[in-house]
Amino acid sequence: MKLELRGITKRFGALVANDHIDLVVKSGEIHSLLGENGAGKSTLMNVLYGLYSADEGEILLDDVVQNFKGPGDAMAAGIGMVHQHFMLIPVFTVAENVVLGHEPTGALDTLDLEAARKLVREISDRFGFDIDPDALVEDLPVGAQQRVEIIKALARDAKVLVLDEPTAVLTPQETDELMAIMKGLAKAGTSIVFITHKLREVQAVADRITVIRLGAVVGDAKPTDSASTLATMMVGRAVDLDVKKHSPKKGDAGLTVTNLTVVGDRHNKVVDDVSFTVHAGEVLAIAGVQGNGQTELAEALVGLRDVTGGKIVLGKLDITDSTVREVIDAGVGYIPEDRSKDGLVGDFTIAENFMVNRSYGPPFAKGLSIDFVNRARIADELITEYDVRTPSQTTLAKQLSGGNQQKVVVARELSRDLNLLIASQPTRGVDVGSIEFIHERIIATRDAGKPVVIISTELDEVSALADRIAVMYRGKIVGIVDATTSRETLGRMMAGATA
């Protein structure tokens, strides 16, 4: 089925999220929508899926104008969508999930589970998905859950399949499998819209590429175009993906973690007997697919999560059972992975956000009162030094772009007198220009002789920053390897193989 978007415009108040976007996806084509986070890709797809109504423009399927009032209409017209966060019921089986909402029924309106199983088996066999219809979704690995989502869409006769950042949660191997599936689907005639900001994947799988930036189409590209050409189109200027850095000047052990065990929210061991040492002047990256205990490890290090076993020693100071405030006062800088939830107070001004973890004494407090004069001065200094693009220091943090928000967090943490920096997904959802800046700052912190721990799911980021790489899988560190280790080896380790 041919999909055409003509002049789609979507505004949110003064913000134009989509500005007259034209897009044509031919039948059986894998069309990649490439753009940075915040470029307007998801908004566009939500318009297509009937979740938002466009302010201007029209949607055509096989040259017929459509008028979607909601996702139901879009599905009925043959559009299927696999969201970044899966819409599956974990305690249901694959078959139950697939038919949910349009269940085949037998006599007396009972659920015809056999028909559902048959449907799943049929689709699974046709495209080589290898999915057991009776498996519980919660028991499946993430890659398989994603295939269930795809089956769900195909079971409703989707002719146009939208995949929103499908590889964000996958290991490199699972990503390769997904790409093979996409190619198979396209060959069978399904049109695929593949939303991503990862250049490598686009080059590997797309037939055609449309690049959008700041809500508007920048232009079309071919998969044979070089990565730097595509990156330049995405950000509007030439970017340097490699971070320039000297070899590390290692000092004493800065952070020593011994046999650390943390029990998670579901009473299972999420961090399992983890040991590592980070030296002063060194970056240790903790790589791994999202959800393998990295988040909990970071939270345990900064005191946000109770430690059930093992030890965390900062220099000579045991901080295993310290409170968050004690950890902060011991000089640990922390960039949390979810900045809008944990890193920033959206309704606070930038200046107010600079003092969230230093409200008890100088320079931000004078007795019981906030030191407004000092705060204003420091805020201006940090905004300049860290290149935060904002109208003023009294702008609310939530009004900034992702990259500038992250710079506020980075500025706050790096401007303190640190003995350790822990940065979790430091550039997630950040524009390429800001990525470069943040990376430089992290390396500068290392070069100032501080131990640095980076937790990242992006292999590019890991290889750009790390001196050594520890790979986590199911709560354990499967190995600590040199930064020069190949992508393939790291990929295998992220799937549980030892180095």
């Binding site: 949110f12 108040g13 109504s53 966060h85 899966f86 599956l88 974990p90 979704v137 919660e138 690995p141 993430v142 859950q145 949660v169 579901r266 999202q290 959800g291 393998n292 900064v302 946000l304 409170t323 968050v324 405030r325 950890v327 902060i328 006062d329 922390y334 949390p336 939830k341 944990d342 890193g343 920033l344 107070v345 959206g346 309704d347 606070f348 107010e352 003092m355 969230v356 973890n357 409200s359 008890y360 931000f364 407090a365 019981l368 009162s369 906030i370 407004f372 199911r474």
Partner: protein, 412 residues
């Protein structure tokens, strides 16, 4: 490995509260205007002359309209005479009495409104102003009727004890929330009943606080003269120093919330408890401290009620202040100037109600107006939350209203 199927947890109650409080001055002002319009309709439709004229409306509509206009004009001018300036009085002292009455009523409303507002800003629903007020008043009454102290000292001690008692009573709520996760709404409501019960028991028991030589009804003695809040403008007006305390409270509230690091942490926890925790703030302890400070402001209202009296007190000493405080905080967007103005407005309603009764209107109309004002402020986000509707894209009542006017027939 289940991270991928988790859904984000949204604290619905908190989001609603945030939206109600973010309405700002325009929404508050519009709500007040709309409240008065609804009040006017009640006056018209309960007016005999209008109802009579309406029976021959088609024949002579002007009669109905004139009657309606007279009803509204009479009603609101009575409210004005009763609450601001009695232009019908012969004597300048009498003419200004309504205004002083408004201020007298406004004192405890402002003070307790500040307490509720502070809790709101920290993300807590303190529904317990009534209980906190009663508990503070109980101990103020104990000091003022059962303890003899020299002039000056007596009043200060009684006031401090009231404030501390109210603060402690509220802190219990914060403690239970921090330790057990008990929801503050349930706990504060239950503690209202407990406080009311304790106070009645004290006022009924001769060995405790019952009026010396009193009868069977629960009633206390009048506060000793040394413990009474002095009249502010001499003996011709009953306005006492409690109002000044409330004004001091407004400044204290402003300083705490806008200038102090403690208020900064309160606001941080209110806006984003996760970020606060990550920044090293002990969120549970902040809840406890905030509840205590919230209770201390309610304690100022207790001082007003217990030490402003010149006669013996009954267990309904809190009147409707406990719940009016919530409406004052909501109408005032939980800001210092907002609560001051909202408290004055509701004080005026209380002072003006009797004057409306004099001209034959039911005094409950002011209560209806008061209720509608808060309804107009709180309803849009509440209605959306109940029916799980998406927020409007530019979420202000005024913007929606304008949009519907401008595009005639609403959005497509």
């Amino acid at each position: 490995m289940n991270n991928a199927v988790e859904t984000p947890v949204v604290n619905r109650g908190n989001a609603v509260l945030k939206e109600i409080l973010s309405g700002g001055a325009t929404r508050a002002l519009l709500s007040v205007v709309l409240g008065f319009v609804v009040g006017a309709l009640f006056m018209v439709f309960s007016n005999e002359a209008f109802l009579t004229a309406a029976q021959y409306f088609t024949a002579r509509p002007a009669d109905s309209l004139a009657a309606a206009w007279t009803a509204i004009a009479d009603g609101y001018s009575a409210l004005f005479r009763g609450s601001i300036y009695n232009y019908a009085a012969d004597d300048i002292v009498v003419a200004f009495r309504p205004l002083t009455e408004t201020l007298r009523f406004a004192g405890p409303l402002i003070a307790s409104g500040l307490g509720i507002a502070l809790a709101f800003r920290v993300g807590l629903f303190n529904i317990g102003a009534s209980g906190q007020l009663l508990f503070g008043a109980l101990w103020a009454t104990w000091i003022s009727t059962r303890v003899s102290l020299p002039w000056g000292v007596h009043l200060v001690v009684a006031a401090l004890v009231a404030i501390l008692a109210s603060a402690a009573y509220a802190a219990v709520v914060g403690f239970l929330k921090a330790r057990t996760g008990a929801h503050e709404v349930i706990v504060t409501i239950m503690m209202n009943y407990i406080a009311a019960g304790i106070l009645t028991y004290f006022f009924r028991t001769p060995e405790l606080l019952r009026e010396v030589d009193g009868g069977g009804t629960p009633k206390s003695d009048a506060p000793a003269e040394t413990a009474q809040l002095p009249y502010l403008l001499g003996d011709q007006y009953t306005l006492h120093w409690g109002f000044i305390l409330a004004i001091v409270g407004v400044f204290a509230y402003w300083w705490i919330m806008e200038r102090s690091t403690m208020g900064y942490r309160f606001r941080m926890v209110g806006h984003n408890p996760d970020a606060a925790r990550t920044a090293g703030i002990n969120v549970e302890r902040t809840f406890m401290i905030a509840m205590a400070v919230s209770g201390a402001f309610v304690g100022l209202a207790a001082v007003n009620q217990a030490l402003g009296a010149r006669a013996g007190m009954t267990p309904d000493i809190d009147g409707t202040i406990g719940f009016d405080a919530i409406t004052v905080a909501l109408l005032g967007s939980s800001t210092a100037p907002g609560v001051l103005l909202a408290g004055l407005l509701f004080g005026a309603f209380k002072a003006g109600a009797p004057a409306m009764q004099v001209i034959g209107l039911s005094p409950e109309i002011t209560g209806v107006v008061q209720g509608f004002i808060v309804l107009f402020i709180a309803a849009p986000p509440l209605v959306r939350a109940i029916f799980r509707l998406p927020p409007p894209q530019k979420s202000t009542v005024v913007a929606d209203w304008w949009r519907s006017l401008v595009t005639k027939g609403g959005r497509k």
